[in-house]
């Protein structure tokens, strides 16, 4: 097994609203090993995006605050790193791409400027060399006529091309960890397929570990080795992609899989989860999923379930798994 590159332990992040701190991430543990493809799955409000921003040191503060816990990147605790150190790491050792390629690129700078900036922040190279590297990076992500594209502006490119440019910016310094936050959600399926292929080849060829944040279980199945399912700021289930998708042990994961439309063409009605995800701070005791769970018992409403070992490297935060 490869050595871990990212180890998050007992992470707690609070957001203050009206002077009151609300816990948005609670007791989060996760490990990503070198070259691994890990999917973090959850619906909006699950805390998956905040987790990724925390790793990058980009949690907006105020109102956000890392209350406790550690984020170890190659052994170094990032919660204690200086802003300068974080700038050295960001875009260099670890980088990030976002959901909206339309708005994630700066509209008033050329593509070449935006890639070149990344290079020149992290490497001592001249303008000419930066340009050469930018063209190379664009070629690597499959952009045709890269020589011209570096002189163009984001609005002149299609959505898929812009996401390729984002990937080029993020990977130009060969990071060991790439965080991809819903990288294909805003794209059409045929373009999504291209981008997923690109991420996969990036992982295989450069050995970049990828932390893929998504709500789409299909995308996870296509790309990831390992899956972490988050609900209301907690990890509820974690395991390898096969175990999670074929034999989910947490009722939320199971219901989420069942509620994806079109999976079972003959089904008349979709299984749906009643209600909606509780807002941060509203569940003060017991399992956070209890109010929507059809298996919930009195115990679930009173005591927070720990993560139970349910298989080889497969854990589930549900009292149902206790006896096993």
């Amino acid at each position: 097994m490869n050595p871990p590159i990212l180890e998050v332990s007992r992470l707690r992040i609070d957001f203050s609203a009206n002077q009151r701190p609300l816990s948005v991430i609670d007791d989060l543990d996760l490990t990503i090993r070198e070259g691994e493809l890990v999917g973090i799955v959850g619906e909006s409000g699950s805390g998956k995006s905040i987790t990724s921003l925390a790793v990058m040191g980009l949690v907006p503060s105020p109102p956000g605050k890392i209350e406790s816990g550690e984020i170890r990147f190659k052994g170094e605790d990032l919660t204690k790193a200086t802003p300068k150190r974080m700038r050295q790491l960001r875009g260099n050792e670890m980088s990030m791409i976002f959901q909206e390629p339309m708005t994630s690129l700066n509209p008033v700078f050329t593509i070449g400027d935006q890639i070149g900036e990344s290079i020149r922040i992290h490497a001592r190279v001249g303008k000419k060399e930066a340009k050469r590297l930018a063209v190379e990076a664009l070629n690597r992500v499959g952009i045709p006529r890269a020589e011209e594209v570096i002189r163009e502006y984001p609005h002149q490119l299609s959505g898929g091309m812009r996401q390729r440019v984002m990937i080029a910016i993020a990977t130009v310094c060969n990071p060991s960890l790439l965080i991809a936050d819903e990288p294909t959600t805003a794209l059409d399926v045929t373009i999504q397929a291209q981008i997923l292929d690109l991420l996969r080849s990036l992982n295989r060829e450069a050995g970049t570990a990828i932390m893929l944040i998504t709500h789409d279980l299909g995308v996870v199945a296509e790309l990831c080795d390992k899956v972490i399912v988050m609900y209301a700021g907690q990890v509820v289930e974690e395991g390898d992609v096969r175990s999670i998708l074929m034999h989910p042990k947490h009722p939320y994961t199971a219901a989420l899989l069942e509620s994806v439309p079109g999976r079972d063409a003959d089904r008349e009605r979709l299984i749906s989860i009643p209600g909606s995800m509780p807002a941060p701070g509203t569940v003060t005791q017991g399992c956070r999923f209890a109010s929507r769970c059809s298996y919930a018992t009195g115990k679930c409403r009173e005591r927070v379930p720990p993560l139970f070992e349910v298989g080889n490297d497969h854990v589930s935060r549900c009292w149902l798994n206790e006896a096993k």
């Binding site: 974080m86 708005t103 502006y153």
Partner: protein
């Protein structure tokens, strides 16, 4: 970019023609005989007839208009009734004076306004933000003449730090080359005098620059707040860009379009001659030139003055339009 520039310049043609018609009509729209108005009620019929002939008032209006157009195209702005000199010759120094003061005021307004706005947006809802925006609010609502008088009272009379009147010490006049005293003193290597010229600029400059500064600060804060919340800012930070560059490079260039618009409008207004400020500070600018022409019913001067100011306004707009395309490349591709 060239096509965009050409398109903008081409659009000036109808605007300038329209303006020339309006300005031309000023004299003709005044009720009564322009010659009588110019010469006064007591003028002899011979003098009126002579003026008619010399002004071409006997020709049909379109002939008059085209000869007027031909004159201004050739740089002939007519002759002042008061001074009997060619307007094109005497208007220069006044324009230069106003221009110099405007540049100074706007530099002051832009430097303070943009930075205050940026800081306010960057530290939103901080004490700095509240203070700056309160000052900006006071700034936009304060009458310029009152501010000017207060400055004179405090800095000139009470503290005696700065001169309150004129462009330069009257006992040591600047030898005019370009009409821009800052430039002229540098060319003459009179750096002691340059200091004096700067001192004279401070009070009227601040008085005139305060309103634009306040407006710019508010617009900058609004634009920067929006830009700083954008996703490309998050991208820039995720690349490891230093926060200073995130703000001054990535966000500011995006937020600059509305700021530029305000700068253009305010510059145009100041160049049109701030009569009050120029009067209070004894500044020999275009505002006072026009004011005295109006008092003396010197119609050719009024007419040409308006035309010159209008042309300047249009030119500033052109420059602003071209700068738009620099700050936001999406504009020229539209």
């Amino acid at each position: 970019m060239l096509a965009y520039t050409l398109r903008r310049v081409a659009m000036l043609v109808p605007v300038l023609l329209g303006m020339s018609i309006i300005v031309f009509m000023i004299i003709h729209a005044i009720p009564g005989d322009p010659a009588v108005i110019i010469l006064g009620q007591k003028a002899t019929p011979e003098a009126i007839a002579e003026l008619h002939a010399s002004l071409g008032l006997n020709d049909p209006w379109y002939v008059q208009y085209f000869s007027y157009l031909k004159n201004i195209a050739g740089g002939d702005l007519g002759t002042s009734i008061q001074t009997k000199t060619a307007i094109s010759k005497e208007i220069g120094p006044y324009l230069a004076a106003t221009f110099e003061l405007t540049v100074f005021s706007m530099l002051f307004a832009i430097f303070i306004g943009v930075n205050a706005g940026i800081l306010s947006a960057w530290r939103r809802n901080s004490w700095f933000d509240y203070t700056a925006m309160l000052i900006a609010l006071i700034g936009v609502s304060m009458p310029v003449f009152w501010l000017g008088l207060m400055e004179q009272w405090l800095f000139a009379q009470h503290l005696n730090w700065l001169p309150s009147i004129g462009r330069v010490n009257a006992r040591d006049p600047v030898e005019s080359i370009s009409g821009f005293y800052v430039l002229d003193t540098i060319l003459a290597r009179r750096f002691d005098q340059l200091e004096d010229v700067f001192k004279h600029l401070v009070l009227p400059g601040i008085a005139m620059g305060t309103v634009p500064m306040a407006i710019i600060a508010r617009i900058t804060r609004a634009g920067m707040s929006e830009a700083m919340a954008s996703e490309y800012i998050r991208t820039a930070r995720s690349k490891g860009v230093h926060e200073f560059m995130v703000v001054y490079k990535h966000a500011l260039k995006n937020a600059f379009i509305p700021i530029l618009t305000v700068i253009g409008l305010q510059t145009g207004m100041l160049l049109g001659g701030a009569v009050l400020t120029e009067t209070i500070f004894g500044w020999p600018g275009i505002g006072r030139y026009l004011y005295s022409a109006i008092s003396a019913r010197d119609y050719p001067v009024i007419q040409s003055g308006i035309l010159v100011i209008a042309v300047i306004f249009v030119c500033i707009n052109l420059v602003v339009d071209l700068l738009y395309a620099y700050f936001d490349p999406r504009i020229k591709h539209r």
